[in-house]
Symmetry: C2
Subunit: 337 residues, 2 copies
């Protein structure tokens, strides 16, 4: 397979992205290829600085760049030669099989949505992130692609994320829950209640009911469905929370015993490694007609490498074909919503 | 002041609630009074079991109980003699100055809203919770009273929570942020964008901009405004997350060195104490014409005691009077929305 990587996107681009691409070759086969997309001069210089041959990768020249703060649609219109736009264009012309970016998420989602379009039957793409929890990996969809959700969108997220969890983690019949403010059927917004009925009535989905925030970490479910707004808050809150707790522990330990504080570092490191979602390497944009992985803006080489591995797995397992199949068997028709 | 406590509400009622009431007397003055609301026989038996005199508290008999799973409005209609209904009724007839419950949150909010009504100028009450963070206490409003928010509601939450943070924590000009999915002005739903304009244009509010989930713990703001749905997820997710991380640490330590795991217990305990929002004792229902505190269903005696202290502080500082004053000076009129 051919993976296009946005060399210019992310807080540590291009250095860490290109270093990640170099590491990524380890997880790819001899027939796989990585294409770097971005300013050719910058890419070649970075490769030299990293002591890699300047012709290690094919390069698609993209002189422009969309920054993190730009409004997605507007930026795509104004910068057709940005790395994200060039990358999506290449994918839509089947010059590459997958795209990967740690840049402006909104722009990446919009570019993929416009260029790749949705899979047959899918109404809206959703970003799926895997949170490693004490109870196992939990796939959350959507974490920010769609902040104006309708029941059909959430319903299809359940189908797509179930296929994803099954294929990626071997969970035969992933348990699906809807994020809500209480477990009782009467709780929640009308969106939530309508989605519940759709999920409950579909025999192909292992719907287990409403979830509350705390249930996410207790091994109750394999897939969590929510609006993009809520999912995004969940994701970023989890990040902030982990950092705060470890800072608090560090401060407490430093106060007590510096040697033990030092020793605890390796404990913390191990835990971070186990529960760090960077390990899972980015988020899949489920529902687009192609393979698109969005990485966190703070991604370093390790995350890019994991993302390349995730990309390959997603592609090799033909997850999109299975999503199309699952959507075609779904009990709720797509009325073009 | 006279505080009515719902003796029947909560996972550990009545034992822990009544034990908390007993402890709560320590934080009250000689002129203050606690009234227990619930089944009189059960309350007297519990007092005896706790080795307290059966006439320690005045009791308002309420033979019925609303369980955690009941639909609030329906339950209030069907059970006019439930502890929550009796408590709210007593408050509306000025037989007590404050109400406190660890029972069904929805029922408690609804009962207070119906019986006490809102403060002059306030459109909707909101639940404010204080999260103790590494950067100081952060007040979040709303965490579940209102899941159909309009901009005016969020705007007024900002005003009310600012007064609250100022009076309770001595923060002169609390920095207010709106929970969103990005920091850029163009991000978010139409509700968020409209609220932003209202806050930005009010010179009495120290509006600092949009916040992302991770900002909550980094000392960037003193007050966070969000829809009840999002706030509720934030609150419960934080809880679950803390538990998961400490479980993960425990498992990791047990694997390495049992002695150190045992020693770490006291570290964890200290951190829990510092960052446990139970310390702040429940959530204030801001905007109702009275003092209403809602405690977590899992509250034990210690939390009830803290809640009683919070109740007293809220009442003594005449926070409601100041909220009415602040709302009357606000730049956005309440159009009865």
């Amino acid at each position: 397979m051919r993976i296009a990587i946005d060399a210019m996107g992310g807080d540590y681009a291009p250095d860490e992205i290109i270093a990640g691409a170099l590491q990524g070759r380890e997880v790819l086969g001899p027939d796989d290829e990585i294409v770097l997309v971005g300013d050719e001069t910058v890419i070649r210089e970075t490769l030299t600085a990293l002591k890699a041959s300047a012709d290690t990768f094919r390069i698609f020249h993209a002189p422009d760049m969309i920054t993190m703060n730009e409004s997605p649609i507007e930026a795509l219109r104004r910068k057709p030669k940005s790395s994200i736009a060039v990358m999506a264009h290449a994918a839509s012309h089947r010059q590459v099989d997958a795209v990967l970016s740690a840049g402006n998420t909104g722009a990446c989602v919009a570019a993929c949505q416009i260029r790749l379009r949705t899979l047959p039957g899918v109404t809206r793409p959703g970003i799926a992130v895997v949170l490693p929890t004490y109870g196992g990996p939990v796939t959350i969809c959507d974490v920010g692609a769609n902040i104006a959700c309708k029941p059909i969108h959430l319903y299809q997220y359940a189908i797509m994320a179930s296929v994803y969890a099954r294929e990626m983690f071997g969970i035969q019949s992933p348990r699906v829950g809807i994020m809500n403010i209480g477990e009782e059927d009467a709780k929640g917004t009308s969106l939530i209640k309508k989605t519940r009925l759709l999920l409950k009535n579909d025999p192909n989905i292992s719907y287990i009911g409403y979830l509350e925030g705390r249930d996410l970490f207790e091994g109750k479910c394999d897939v969590v469905i929510c609006e993009g707004f809520v999912g995004n808050v969940i994701l970023k809150l989890s990040e902030g929370m982990v950092n705060m707790i470890f800072n608090a522990i560090k401060a407490e330990l430093m106060n007590r015993n510096k040697l033990l504080a030092w020793w605890f570092k390796s404990v913390a490191k191990n835990i971070f490694k186990k529960y760090d979602y960077h390990e899972y390497g980015g988020a899949l944009l489920l529902g687009v007609n192609g393979t698109a992985i969005i990485c966190h803006g703070t991604s370093k080489a390790r995350t890019i490498k994991s993302a390349i591995a995730a990309c390959k797995r997603f592609y090799d397992k033909k997850i999109n074909t299975q999503i199309v199949d699952a959507i075609s068997k779904s009990t709720v028709p797509n009325n073009g919503q």
